[in-house]
């Protein structure tokens, strides 16, 4: 992966720069992101954590070009997403970004193989056969390629989704609670695959999760609270993450004691 290593030198795979995002207006307005700046290093596995409503999903949606920001700028590699039209955004999502959702989100009419190659097919590109074999081998789906999603288990479906995200060699893969709908063993498979993608293929991954064990697979964990980046851990273990989460929960409760009462 020569191209990727070059990127590692130049630095950032994705960047949110002073981003603010508000939902609703007036009294019911909720500030999801509040002048937030986050850098995502190339070839790194970044986890985003925080209590419910802290803005972690919104941050990911904005970074991935699924949602727009009110102010600030979002970059994928050297491309500024802020201000891009729908068509250009669609092309960025297809070529530069990969997605893994909690709900698997495969197309029921397509076989596993067709689901994996779908983003390339939309762009009328042919997958490189050796790279395809590598990816399929990595997710362990070689004997399931002709199956329809309804014939696969949840863990297998999510592995198809992982392969789909990895195949176009995107700048970043965004994973939104990828293990949220899986048992711990299937979830472990997915996390090990993501880790391996980072180490072997130099893939950049951003994962939103609330599971400290999942976050422990990351190189770096950033913690959000009320739309701000409040803490950051490098090479974390599950206990560190859990402690931080507890501390943040306490902070959150202190911040709005009357509302709870």
């Amino acid at each position: 992966m020569t191209t990727v290593s070059q990127h590692t030198i130049t630095g950032l795979a994705a960047r949110a720069d002073g981003v603010t995002k508000t939902f609703g207006t007036g009294a019911t307005a909720v500030t999801a992101l509040n002048d937030l700046t986050v850098n995502v290093q190339r070839g790194q596995f970044t986890a985003i954590m925080g209590p419910s409503g802290s803005g972690k999903s919104t941050l990911m949606h904005c970074l991935a070009g699924l949602d727009t920001v009110d102010s600030g700028e979002v970059w994928i590699g050297e491309t500024r997403l802020t201000g891009l039209g729908d068509k250009a955004l669609a092309d960025v999502r297809r070529n530069r970004v990969g997605f893994i959702f909690q709900q698997f989100n495969l197309l029921p009419t397509l076989s596993a193989e067709e689901n994996i190659t779908l983003p390339l097919a939309i762009a009328s590109r042919r997958p490189d056969a050796r790279w395809f074999d590598t990816v399929v081998e990595a997710v362990g789906l070689a004997d399931r390629l002709t199956h329809r999603p309804s014939e696969l288990s949840g863990g297998q479906q999510q592995r198809v989704a992982c392969a789909r995200a990895l195949l176009p060699k995107p700048d970043v893969i965004f994973a939104d609670e990828p293990t949220g709908n899986l048992d711990s063993r299937s979830g472990g498979d997915i996390l090990r695959f993501l880790r391996r993608s980072v180490e072997e293929f130099n893939q950049t991954i951003v994962m939103v999760t609330h599971d400290p064990n999942a976050a422990a697979f990351a190189d770096r964990v950033v913690f959000l609270l009320d739309g701000r980046l409040v803490h950051e851990l490098r090479d974390p273990d599950a206990d560190d993450v859990l402690d931080t989460m507890k501390a943040l929960d306490a902070l959150g409760q202190d911040a709005e004691p009357r509302a709870r009462a």
Binding site: S57, A90, R93, N95, F101, Q103, I122, A123, D176
Partner: protein, 861 residues
């Protein structure tokens, strides 16, 4: 449970609106048909009731021919004298009024009216209904008064002239008066009227002076019309029709309503069709609605609702939709009727002296039908939903794939029976029952086809789809079309049925056209034919036989001198005329028959007649030549005597002096031309044939002969090619009418596809969001949805057209037509229509798919 249902209902307004649309359309069509026919019927009744309001008793001659003819032979003046003697009669008036005065408009063409008569009458002053608007009544033989409708239609005014064709050739008259009717109407039911002085009217309309078309009487004070009627009947005996004014009005109105029946049939056929399609639509919509809610219903079941409650909740929903949509439909139907009424009034020139008549019981029926149809259509998916085990349903995306084995077996049986019926009909095994076998076969095969469509879609859709999906979005669309065969089948059902009918009609019509052309070419040896509009068309009608004035209307005719002068045109070898009438035969099988007259020695040559017995020579007045089939039917032979009743003269006896092989253009008894001039409904010939000398300049002769009839806008000179195409033109009209009807159901078919597409799009919101998330552009989304819609409509179109072509071919074979002609161009056009339907149907759903909110769709916000 009810509250939950109502809340659910409101939450799905769009989907229910789509479901309701189908019901609205069906009910609109039904109620429009009912209100329109009721209103027009009432209008006609009102017109004719006032027309007959001054008449207590009407006397007219019985028609001489049994067929539903409106031509009554004239009454001699002696009848008036007899009636003067009736004790309780206060007044006895001879009336001259009959169809057949064809005014020629300023453009040189005959003023045409569709349906109502073109009356020629004797002016009787401002009596009864008639009211002069301008000028005066006619006093001299060259003067006429005309009704206001005609004056407006032809732009005629007092002081100008008008040319009229009657039993005599074209004559010019001075317009001295314009009249309307007592209740302010310009016309009576749309007809034109020319009023002459009495002797002129008698001469031109009834054929000779001193006769009347009917006699009207009023009763003395205190005498009921019925009593007077009975007295008159006693005096005159049974040879006359004696009716009270009310009976006359009823009779006239019902004759005027003959075309109304056609309108009614067309509208009811359309509404039946749209209701049937409505059932498909509702069934489809509700199965999708219920499928989408399967998990919701399962939750309710898991919380302890009984199956009956679940079915009930779906039915309550359906009932609400049905009631609302049916109410809207009835309202829309009344609105459509108002439009139809004014449209018909403007088209026919007739005004109806009544407002919109709303037949309440009929509308209630339409309403109930709408509600019931909705309930029945919703019952199936409701029961199916209640049978889903709660746990299975609560899992995401309850399996859409259900086995097709049952439905396939159920479809194979009628399909096999239908095919067997068709084969039996085509091969002739079915014998005399071949038409029954054909009809039953088509219906059964269509039913089988409907049930087999799901399984057919599984194998045919990929094939069709491959042609249309060259890119990934296209491929995705194709896969979507394939994913639920049942739903696809039900979606395209309308297209299959409609295009099946259209294709079948197209094949049959094209084959008939080919048949008619080939028969005309083989039976007609004349090079040129002189005839009026519709005469030669009748000559080539599918029943065969010569043109007849079967409806009793005066046919377009021309002066007999035309053929005499045509004989003097250089290059003409033979020119002769044919007179036509409908006659009654008396023999072993009494009944109406085409009747003809002409110079047989010449007709033999121009029609390629073959004498079987005796010779085909110029006939004496009491001689007749009859075709062999008619002779055999009546149990007669050459040398026998035969009784023939012509429309004008009644029963006469003739001697059969010869027989001929019936020809496509000539059938029935043939009399001498002098007989026709006296006894046929029109004394003038309706057809003229011209045969050229070898080597003559056909174009030059044609233009010379055309000169001879230049002053008669009713007739033209056609060569064989024109005649063949003219003969098939009657088919064109029937075909076009049918196409219009089917076109309307195509529109509903499009709605069906729109509906399914829209619901499927709603159902797949999450997938659409995913596709956008992984980089499909909006244009890709549109492409995908259009591909799905196109694959389905092309599939439906192909299946329907294939079926229609086969059924049409079977019909052609059973009917024994000479040629099987497949109208490829038309079929391609119909397929084009199916494609267009697919594009139209994809319009709204594809827009929706393109605009889907990604985050909302994938459920992350």
């Amino acid at each position: 449970m009810l509250r939950a249902t109502l809340k659910g209902l409101l939450a799905r307004k769009l989907r229910l609106a789509l479901a309701g649309l189908a019901v609205v359309l069906g009910v609109t069509a039904v109620s429009a048909a009912m209100v329109t026919t009721e209103t027009i019927g009432n209008g006609f009744d009102a017109i004719f009731a006032t027309a007959a309001s001054d008449v207590d008793v009407s006397v007219s001659a019985r028609p001489n021919v049994d067929e539903s003819t409106t031509f009554a032979p004239p009454l001699p003046a002696s009848v008036l004298e007899e009636l003067d003697a009736v004790r309780d009669a206060e007044s006895v008036t001879g009336v001259v009024s009959a169809d057949g005065a064809r005014p020629i408009g300023p453009d040189g063409k005959v003023i045409s009216v569709q349906g109502p008569p073109r009356l020629g009458v004797a002016w009787a002053g401002e009596t009864g209904m008639t009211r002069l608007r301008e000028g005066r009544g006619p006093r001299a033989a060259n003067e006429v008064a005309i009704n206001a409708g005609l004056a407006e239609q032809g732009g005629f005014g007092v002081g100008g002239t008008i040319d009229v064709l009657t039993l005599r050739p074209r004559q010019t008259f001075q317009v001295v008066g314009i009249y309307g009717y007592r209740n302010g109407l310009d016309t009576m039911g749309g007809g034109t009227e020319v009023a002459f002085t009495e002797p002129v009217a008698q001469q031109l309309i009834l054929g000779r002076t001193g006769v009347y078309s009917s006699v009207t009487m009023t009763a003395a004070d205190g005498v009921s019309p019925e009593k007077l009627r009975d007295q008159v009947a006693d005096v005159l005996g049974s040879s006359y029709l004696v009716r009270t004014g009310d009976e006359l009005a009823e009779q006239t109105a019902s004759e005027g309503q003959a075309f109304l029946e056609t309108v009614r049939m067309v509208l009811l056929a359309f509404s039946g069709l749209s209701l049937l399609i409505g059932i498909f639509l509702i069934l489809n919509t509700f199965s999708i609605l219920v499928a989408q809610r399967t998990s919701e219903l399962a939750l309710v079941a898991a919380l302890g609702a009984r199956r009956r409650q679940i079915v009930g909740s779906v039915l309550v929903e359906a009932a609400l939709v049905g009631v609302l949509a049916s109410a809207v439909g009835v309202g829309a139907g009344i609105a459509v009727s108002t439009l139809l009424k004014s449209f018909m009034e403007s088209q026919s020139g007739a005004q109806l002296p009544v407002g919109l008549t709303v037949p309440m019981p009929d509308l209630v029926l339409a309403f109930v039908v709408g509600v019931l149809v909705t309930l029945v259509a919703a019952l199936v998916p409701a029961v199916r939903a209640s049978r889903v085990p709660p746990v299975a349903a609560m899992r995401e995306a309850a399996a859409e794939q259900r086995s097709l084995t049952g439905i396939t077996v159920a479809g194979a049986v009628p399909a096999a029976l239908g095919t067997a019926g068709l084969v039996a009909a085509v091969t002739g095994i079915a014998g005399d029952f071949r038409w029954l076998a054909l009809g039953g076969g088509v219906v059964l095969a269509l039913l089988g086809l409907a049930l087999l469509t799901p399984v057919a879609s599984r194998y045919l859709l990929p094939a069709v789809g491959r042609l249309l999906s060259w890119s990934t979005p296209g491929k995705l669309g194709r896969r979507n079309a394939e994913r639920n065969p049942r739903r696809t089948a039900i979606t395209v059902a309308t297209l299959v049925v409609t295009l099946g009918l259209v294709g079948g009609v197209g094949v049959v019509a094209e084959s008939l056209r080919g048949d008619v052309s080939s028969v005309v070419a083989s039976d007609l040896t004349a090079d040129l034919v002189i005839s009026g509009d519709g005469v030669s068309a009748r000559a080539g009608g599918q029943s065969g036989g010569p043109p007849t004035a079967a409806d009793g209307r005066i046919m377009p005719t021309f002066a007999p001198e035309v053929v005499e002068r045509a004989r003097e045109v250089p290059g003409v070898a033979v020119a002769t005329a044919q007179y036509v009438d409908t006659v009654q035969l008396d023999g072993r099988a009494p009944g109406p028959s085409p009747g003809n007259a002409g110079d047989l020695s010449r007709l033999e040559s121009v029609l390629g007649l073959e004498a079987v017995d005796g010779t085909l020579r110029t006939l004496a007045r009491d001689e007749v030549v009859v075709d062999t089939e008619t002779l055999a039917d009546q149990g007669l032979a050459v040398g026998d005597r035969i009784r023939v009743s012509t429309q004008r003269a009644g029963w006469q006896e003739y001697r059969v002096v010869g027989s001929y092989e019936p020809n496509f253009l000539l059938r029935g008894p043939v009399l001498a031309p002098e007989v026709a001039a006296e006894r046929f409904v029109s004394p003038l010939p309706a057809l003229g044939y011209v045969e050229l000398e070898p080597g003559a300049d056909a174009a030059a002769v044609k233009s010379s002969v055309s000169e001879l009839v230049a002053d008669n806008p009713e007739v033209t000179v056609a060569d064989q090619t024109q005649l063949a195409s003219d003969a098939s033109s009657r088919l064109d009209i029937a075909e076009i009418m049918l196409y219009v009807l089917l076109g309307l159901s195509v529109v509903i078919g499009i709605l069906g596809v729109v509906n399914t597409m829209a619901l499927s799009i709603l159902e797949r919101t999450r997938e659409l969001g995913l596709l956008r998330a992984i980089g499909m552009r909006r244009s890709h989304m549109v492409h995908m949805v259009v591909a799905e819609s196109l694959v389905m409509s092309v599939f439906g179109g192909l299946v329907g057209l294939a079926f229609g072509t086969l059924a049409g071919a079977a019909f052609v074979s059973v009917a024994g037509l000479a040629v099987l002609a497949v109208p490829w161009a038309s079929l391609a056009l119909f397929l084009g229509l199916a494609i267009l339907a697919g594009l139209v149907a994809a319009l709204a759903p594809s827009t929706r798919a393109a605009r889907v909110n990604i985050l909302a769709a994938i459920g992350d916000r």
